[in-house]
Amino acid sequence: QTKEFRIGLITPAGHSWNRAAVAFGETLKKETGGRLSATVFHSGQLGNESAMMQQLQSGALDMGWIQAAELGSRVATVAAINAPYLVRSTAAVAQLVKTPAALKLLEVLPRETGCIGLGWGITGMRSVFSTKDLASSADLKGLKLRINPTPVYRDFYQSMGAAPTPIPTPQVFDAMANGQVDALEADIEFSWNARFDKVSKVILQMNALFMPFAPLVSGRVWASLPDKDKELIREQVAKSLDAQIAEIAGTEPGLLAKFKETGIAMKAEPAANVEASIKAFDAIWLPKAPAIAELRTAGAKL
C-alpha cells in the first residue's frame, strides 16, 4: 500500500537539515516507484519540537528531525552527545556521530520517548561572538552570555564564570547590538545567516560544543511497517545524513573565510584551558550521563 510520511522540522526551508529531509523523500519515492514518499513541514509549522514529539508519540506525525537538546532534556543519557570537547573540530564531529558509541545513545529512545532514532546529523562547532575583547574562555568571566538554553551548555559556560542569559532567538541580534548581553554562542552556519559579525568585535572559536539532530520515526508508525520498508528507510535516511554531514564539514571553512574577510578579530580557545574545563564539566555530568566517558574515548581516537 502507498504511504506518505509527514516529516516535521523546526529549521527554515533552505537549511541543510531541510534539504536532507527533502532529499530523503525524493530518493525514497524513486526507490519505491512512488509507493513510499515524504512531505516536509519546515519552520516548526507543525509546532515546536516538544509539540512534534507529542505528535510522534501519538502517531499523528510520522517523522521528526529533532535536536539533541530536546532529546537530552527528556533523557539525560542522550545529553552526553552535547558534552564539551568530545572532539575538537567540525571534521571530527562528522566522524564522531557515526561511531557506535554515538549511535548507541539512540537505543534508549524507543523506551524513553516512544520514537525510533535513525542516526545523527550535525551542525558545526559553536563559537562565541562577543562585543567585548576576548582572548580565551578565561575572559568570559562575568560576561552576560546568550546561550541555547540546554542544561549541558548552561553548566559548561557557568563553569567558566559566564552568566548564561536566555534571550529568545528572534531578539538575539538586537540584544547584542544594544548590549543587553555581552556575547552569544552559536554555530557558524546560523551565525553567518544572522550576520552576528555585524554586532560583534571578536569571534572566539571554542571548538567545544556542537548540536546534532536525530531523524526520529514515531514508534507506533514504525511498528506498522513491514521489515523490508524499515530497512529501506534506514538506508535512505543514512544516505541523506551522510550528504548533510559532508556538506556542513565542507562549507564551514568557506564561511569562516567569509567572516575573516569582514575584518572581525578571530581567536581560538588555547588548548591549555581544555583539561580544566573538561574536569569541571564532567564532575557534574558524568554521573548523569555515563556515556560521556565512552564518547570521549571514541573522540580521542579520531
Binding site: 509546532g47 516538544s50 501519538s58 499523528a60 543587553q180
Partner: protein, 421 residues
Amino acid sequence: MLTSLFFLAVMFIGVPIGICLCLAGMFYIWDSGNPLLFQSFPMQMFGGVDSYGLIAIPLFILIGEIMNGGGITRRLVELSMAFIGSVKGGLAYVNILANALVSSIIGSATAQVAIMSQVMVPQMEKQGYDKTFAAGLTVYGGMLGPIIPPSVMFVVYSVLAQVAVGDMLIAGILPGILLTVLFFVLIALMGLVYEYPRSERRTLRQRARSVAVCSPTLLIPIVIVGSILSGLANPTEAAAVGAVASALVGRYVTKEFRFSQIPEMLVRSGIYSAIVLFLVAAAAVFSWILIFGKVPQATAAWVQTVAKDPVTFMLLSNVILLVIGTVIDGIPGLIMTVPILLPIATEVYGIDPRHFGVVVVVNLVLGLMSPPVGLSFFVAAAVTGAKPGKMFIVTLPFFLVCCVALVLLSIFPWLSLGLLK
C-alpha cells in the same frame, strides 16, 4: 472545502470567532479520518501561545491603560495638535500624526487601536465628527503600529525568514511614512467632499504653552527608547519599564493617576489581552490542522502554475494574503503563510526576503481591518461602541488607499530596501 463551509456556517450563526476556529479544526480532524490529531489538539492550543513574543501583548495593553489613566496619551495628542494647527479636518490629521508618534512606542496594531480609540474618538466626537468615522480612522492610524518600528510582526517574520531583525525594522520606516502621507492626502481630498470640523484656532503663544505643558509626557517614549538603546531592556521589557515610567509620570507630573487604580487596570488589560491571545491560540490550532491537511501547500503549487514573473507573483500573493487575512490575523497568518510563500518568492522569483516581508506584514495588517474577522475593528468597537460593519463602510476609501500602497510596495522594492543600502 467542507471545513470552510462549516466554518462559515458556525461563524454566521454567531459563535465567537475563536470558538469557530476551534470547532472548524475539530470538524476537519473528524472529516479527514485522522482521529489521532484529537489527542494533540489541546497541546497545540497551548503551544500557540507558548511564545516569548506574545508577552508584549499584555504589556503593551497595560502601558496603554496607565498612559490613559494618567492623561498622558491625551497630552501627546495635544502636542500633535500644537504642530498641526487650525485647519479643516484638523483632528483627523492629528489622529494620524499622533498614531504615527505612538507607533514608535507600540508594536501591535490591536493594542494601539485600543489605546488611541480611547483617546481620539471622544475628542473627535466632541468636535462634531461622526463617531463611526472617528473610530474607523483610528483603526487605520493603528495600522502604523506594526509597520513603524518597533513591531512584533516584523520580529516574528525575521525569525521565520532568518533575516536580521534590525534589517526588518528599518525596512518598515519608509512604508510607514508612505502610509502616513497617503492618509494625509486622502483626508485632504475627502475634505473637499465632506464638511470636516475645523480645529480650534490657537495663537503661537498658546501652542508654545501646549508644548511646554505636554513635553514632560515625552519622558515616557524617551524612557522606553532609552532603555532599549542603553541595553537595559529588549523592546518587550521596555514596555514594562515604560509602564512604570507612565505610572510615575501620571502620579507625580500630570497628577491624574492614583496607585489604587492599578488592580483595576491589571484586570482590564488582562481581559483585553486574553481576548487577543485566545484568538492567537485558536488560530494556531486551526492553521496547524490546515497545514497537516496540506492546504497551504496546494495553494503554493497552484500559484506557481499561474504566476510567470515576480510582479505577477507579488500581486497574486497579495490577493491570497488578503483572503487569508480576512479570517486569520497577524501573527498566526505569518506563521501559516511565510514558510510556504517565502521559498517560492526567493527561490523561484528571486525576490529579496526583506522586501517580501514588508509586503506580507502590511498585507496581513490590512487583514486586521477587513471583514469578517477584522480584529482592529472589533477592538475599536469594544472601546467606542461604534459598529464594526458600519465603520468599515464609512472608511472604505482608507482601505482602498492601503491597497494602492500595497501595490506600490509590491512593485517598488526600494520603498522597503532603500534605507538598508
